[in-house]
């Protein structure tokens, strides 16, 4: 998987108490029991740690981890 997926996975495990064995590219935030407020929090952490802005439309509880990783990847590519 991409660097962004690894970075996002790392944030989910270290900052949001997600169990590493539950993490798969096709798992949704909802399935990880992460609610819409969590996505606001994730937006703050991603902005601080990766310098990427996620909007409300980018990520919903029904988004998969891989889909959000792709959004981050795309923004990182744009910035570089």
């Amino acid at each position: 998987m991409s660097d962004a997926y690894d970075q996002l996975s790392n944030i989910l495990v270290t900052r949001f108490e997600v169990e590493p064995e539950e993490l798969r590219p096709d798992v949704t935030f909802e399935e990880l029991e992460l609610d819409s407020l969590f996505l606001v929090e994730l937006g703050l952490v991603v902005q601080q740690e990766l310098g990427v802005k996620l909007t409300d439309d980018d990520a919903t509880p029904r988004s998969t981890v891989a889909a959000v990783a792709e959004l981050i990847e795309a923004q990182l590519a744009q910035a570089s």
């Binding site: 900052r15 609610d35 407020l37 606001v40 929090e41 937006g43 703050l44």
Partner: protein, 342 residues
């Protein structure tokens, strides 16, 4: 000669009626667990029928005066979102009921940042020599403006009051306040508001029902603003004081939501163990939240003399503010009960 404002008295009061999550209206369609995981709140206190913000303010103010050891002050400031009346201010009546007729008295309207703005005003009055001692009270009865069926606010806010006495002193003393960072951004004035009841509604020629007198809040947007503004404001005062983040022994932030407090601490890289919080017992009490959290912290021993303490808040306006102090030795009189009230 320039004086510093030094904290020398602290008091708090909560109305006796406790509403636990399971007691909230069934129409909210929520559960105790949902509220606790989303906000950290287990219960809130609610003013009884016939009570007003001034009643809570007088109780907290009397305790702060007692804690300071002297009954008189030169100015009484009441920070509130829920004044007794649109006009006049609540502070003069509170002052008189505390035996302080004749003192300067006015209200401060900065919503959840009201207490920090009040500290800034009080410090200004003291350092300019206008007042030697100031009583600052944060008092709220949000139950009077909440829509009981609004899922974004009804379970979050509670009633309560907290107060401090400040006196003129030396900048190096324990309890001396400062530096301050205060700010605002009116672009966000619709994010936290009571649309009705003011001149905008009265002069609009629209029926009163078109603008609600209920409190409204755009929760998710406010969440992000709260974390980022409090973090930036906190960094500003730390930098001005020459403190490092690791110097902060206690983070006493506006008790809006436990998840905001955690994100703020994480964002600033302050250990979560240094957060002082009582939101589980009182909910969000707006302008009263910081002195109430301090009072609970002192009673429970989490706030101790010598602790380098960061106070920061964010609220409607939008407004934000921060200040620093080294916690002084203070005795509370008749403090609020700690632990579970019920």
């Amino acid at each position: 000669m320039t004086y510093a404002a030094v904290l020398c008295g602290l008091g708090a009061w909560l109305p006796p009626r406790v509403v636990v999550n399971d007691d909230l209206p069934a129409g909210l369609n929520t559960t105790d667990e949902w509220i606790r995981t989303r906000t950290g709140i287990r219960q809130r206190h609610v003013a009884g029928p016939g009570m007003a913000t001034s009643d809570l303010a007088v109780e907290a103010g009397a305790r702060a005066l007692k804690s300071s050891g002297e009954p008189l002050v030169d100015a009484v400031l009441v920070a509130t979102t829920t004044p007794d009346r649109v006009c006049p201010a609540t502070a003069p009546e509170v002052a008189t009921r505390l035996g302080l007729s004749g003192a300067a008295a006015f209200d401060i309207a900065a919503v959840c940042t009201g207490f920090i703005y009040g500290l800034g005003c009080a410090a200004g009055l003291i350092s300019a020599g206008v007042a030697g001692r100031v009583l600052l009270i944060g008092a709220e009865t949000y139950s009077s403006i909440l829509n009981p069926l609004d899922r974004g606010t009804a379970m979050i806010f509670g009633d309560g009051a907290g107060a401090v006495v400040l006196r003129a002193g030396e900048p190096a003393e324990p309890g001396a306040l400062g530096p301050f960072d205060l700010g605002s951004d009116g672009h966000g004035s619709d994010l936290i508001s009571v649309p009705g009841g003011g001149s905008r509604q009265r002069l609009s020629n629209l029926p009163e029902s078109a603008m609600s007198r209920y409190f409204t809040m755009a929760g998710r947007e406010v969440f992000q603003h709260a974390v980022l503004r409090m973090a930036a404001s906190s960094h500003a005062v730390l930098q001005r004081a020459g403190w490092q983040v690791v110097d902060v022994d206690r983070l006493v932030a506006h008790q809006a939501n436990i998840r905001i407090l955690y994100q703020l601490a994480d964002h600033m890289r302050i250990d979560r163990g240094r957060i002082v919080s009582n939101i589980d017992r009182v909910g969000n009490t707006a302008a009263a939240s910081i002195p109430l959290a301090l009072a609970h912290g002192v009673v429970e021993g989490t706030v101790q003399p010598g602790h380098r303490t960061l106070l920061t808040a964010f609220g409607g306006g939008l407004t934000w503010g921060s200040t620093l102090l080294t916690w002084p030795g203070l005795t509370l009189c008749d403090p609020p009960a700690h632990g579970t009230d019920r």
